[in-house]
């Protein structure tokens, strides 16, 4: 791994150990295995992208780390402790923003510290830095999609989690806003040095952001390949046209290609889950 700043400059908090994680829904004939025997260890401060086609259970992995579900089998441990429920050490950014509509942007961002009885002096500075200070007293319903995701990222950062869990946070945004938000989240990651697990179905997004890309197969979700991203940091947009980037993209697409092919070959296989806005991704030739 050739990543430089930030990624390894951490006091060792935020280590995620996923061990034989299996998650099934339903029972009997309706039983659907979303995730099957996933092993993954994310080192403190590392940025790992979980990449996979629609409905491959990649969100389920993240939700088990967040503590929203008990695994059917296997375990998820954070800093050695088994995950037993949601907690402020693991901040989550959702696909569609989950800002509380009844609180102003400032109240939303201050929510975590306030609930935990921590000082909230940092909130205004954070709003400033995320470029949403002028919307501090607005309600989330009044924000554009990009601004809302900034506010949600700010809400997470205000809580100073040691782990950031991001579930396709930018997939609902337009292409330009999405690219800006990717840079934004990279600088947030560099400043906080938080371990980051980033779920996406976008190959370029995964390469641009991550230290490692974990390719997950569809139904049941299994780790198919893990690819290191040896691109220097800080990364700028022109890295997307570099040779290293394109060859990585080719490698990952080849890995997914078979996967998506399987998915198309079995039209009867149940769809749904993760990607609400996009269908299965047909890889470019």
């Amino acid at each position: 791994m050739s990543s430089d700043t930030g990624a390894t400059a951490v006091g060792g908090r935020g280590r995620i150990e996923i061990d034989g994680l299996t998650k099934a829904y339903g029972s009997g004939g309706d039983r659907i295995v979303a995730v099957d025997g996933v092993d993954l260890t994310v080192e403190p401060g590392e940025f790992v992208a979980v990449l996979g086609p629609s409905g491959c259970g990649k969100s389920t992995i993240l939700e088990c780390v967040a503590g929203y579900f008990e695994p059917t089998a296997g375990s998820v441990r954070v800093d050695g402790e088994p995950v037993s429920g949601p907690g402020p050490d693991r901040g989550v950014v959702f696909q569609e923003n989950r800002l509380f509509p009844w609180k102003t942007v400032r109240e939303n961002v201050a929510f975590g510290p306030e609930m935990r009885g921590r000082p909230t002096d940092g909130v205004d500075g954070l709003l400033e830095r995320m470029g949403i200070a002028e919307f501090a007293d607005a309600y989330p319903g009044q924000l554009s999609g990009g601004m809302a995701q900034r506010a949600e990222l700010a809400r997470l950062l205000a809580n100073e989690p040691s782990i950031m869990l991001m579930d396709e946070p930018f997939s609902a945004l337009d292409a330009m806003t999405r690219e800006r938000m990717q840079v934004e989240s990279l600088s947030a990651w560099r400043e906080t040095a938080a371990t980051t697990l980033f779920v996406t179905h976008d190959v370029e997004e995964a390469i641009f952001l991550a230290d490692r890309v974990v390719v997950v197969s569809a139904r049941p979700g299994r780790v198919k390949t893990v690819v290191d991203v040896p691109l220097d940091r800080p990364r700028r947009h022109d890295v997307r046209t570099s040779e290293a980037f394109t060859s990585l993209k080719g490698e990952l697409l080849a890995s997914i290609h078979g996967e998506a092919g399987v998915e198309f070959a079995e039209p009867s296989s149940p769809q749904g889950g993760g990607d609400r806005r996009t269908g299965p991704r047909r890889p470019e030739p």
């Binding site: 949601p86 989550v92 509380f100 009044q142």
Partner: protein, 281 residues
């Protein structure tokens, strides 16, 4: 002019009239609507539709309202203010009590599957019973008539508030709870900061329906029982064939009911500022 041209002119005229109607200020429109009611009322009395020939005309009714407003006693020798005060006080107290009990209970039912399972069937069984049907039981069980009437009004406002609060909480998106939990909120904090505000619009709808039923209930209950209240005035006046006082009582109930609904709506929009935001700039 050809048919087509004439049709065009007609369409233009209608469109213009429509635009002109939209530009009329709202208070004026409301006034027009009320005046329209008076015209229909007047015509009914004038023509004598059904038994309306015996009824008072709008002019007589309004002059009666005027003189009662200035302190002329109604049928039983008391002023309309006193009776209106009794009725409004019962509606207000009954609804306030109902909200105080129904909102926490509704939240609890919405949150707890256990309560939902064991308490909600009872609610579903009692809810269809019209509050008025409780009057005899209330008169027997409560020490005073006043308490009995209050209880019946309470029942009227209680069920809509309870049901809406429970449904409002049950409908809260689980993702909001998760987001709050992942930010470090405790269960109590989630109840206070997520479930309650999220369910607030539904609760307010319940209160609004509840206070309306409260008015219906209180008038009926006062007709059956008691010596005070607008329901008592209306029924007493009916027995004395004092048609004017009947109408005065009805108008008082109408105006006060409308005012209380408007007050709930005002309080509601004050309590839920995020709902009338719209896009910025």
């Amino acid at each position: 002019m050809s048919v087509r041209e004439r049709r065009g002119v007609l369409v233009d005229t209608i469109t213009d009239a429509g635009t002109a109607l939209e530009s009329v200020p709202r208070p004026l429109l409301r006034l027009t609507s009320v005046l329209g009611l008076f015209v229909v009322w007047w015509a009914f009395v004038r023509v004598g539709v059904l038994g309306f020939g015996f009824f008072v005309s709008p002019v007589e009714a309004l002059s009666a309202v005027g003189s009662h407003l200035f302190g002329e006693p109604v049928a039983d020798g008391e002023t309309i203010h006193l009776h209106a005060g009794y009725t409004a006080g019962r509606v207000f107290a009954g609804t306030a009590l109902a909200v105080a009990v129904a909102v926490p209970l509704g939240l609890a039912i919405g949150v707890s599957e256990l309560l939902e399972r064991y308490l909600y069937p009872v609610v579903e069984l009692l809810r269809p019973i019209p509050p008025i049907a409780w009057v005899p039981l209330a008169l027997v069980t409560f020490p005073t008539t006043r308490a009995g009437v209050l209880f019946v009004v309470f029942l009227g406002a209680f069920f809509p508030t309870l049901v809406n609060a429970a449904r409002g909480v049950a409908a809260v998106d689980v993702e909001y709870r998760r987001a709050a939990a992942s930010l470090g909120a405790s269960d109590g904090q989630i109840l206070r900061h997520v479930l309650l505000p999220s369910a607030l619009p539904a609760i307010l709808t319940g209160v609004s329906i509840g206070i309306g039923i409260g008015w219906i209930t209180v008038v009926a209950a006062e007709m059956i029982t008691g010596r005070f209240g607008l329901g008592h005035v209306i029924f007493q006046a009916y027995r004395l064939v004092d048609v004017e006082s009947v109408v005065v009582g009805m108008i008082a109930v109408g105006v006060l009911g409308w005012l209380s609904t408007a007050a709930v709506a005002r309080i509601g929009s004050f309590a839920t500022p995020w709902l009338d935001g719209g896009e910025l700039r």
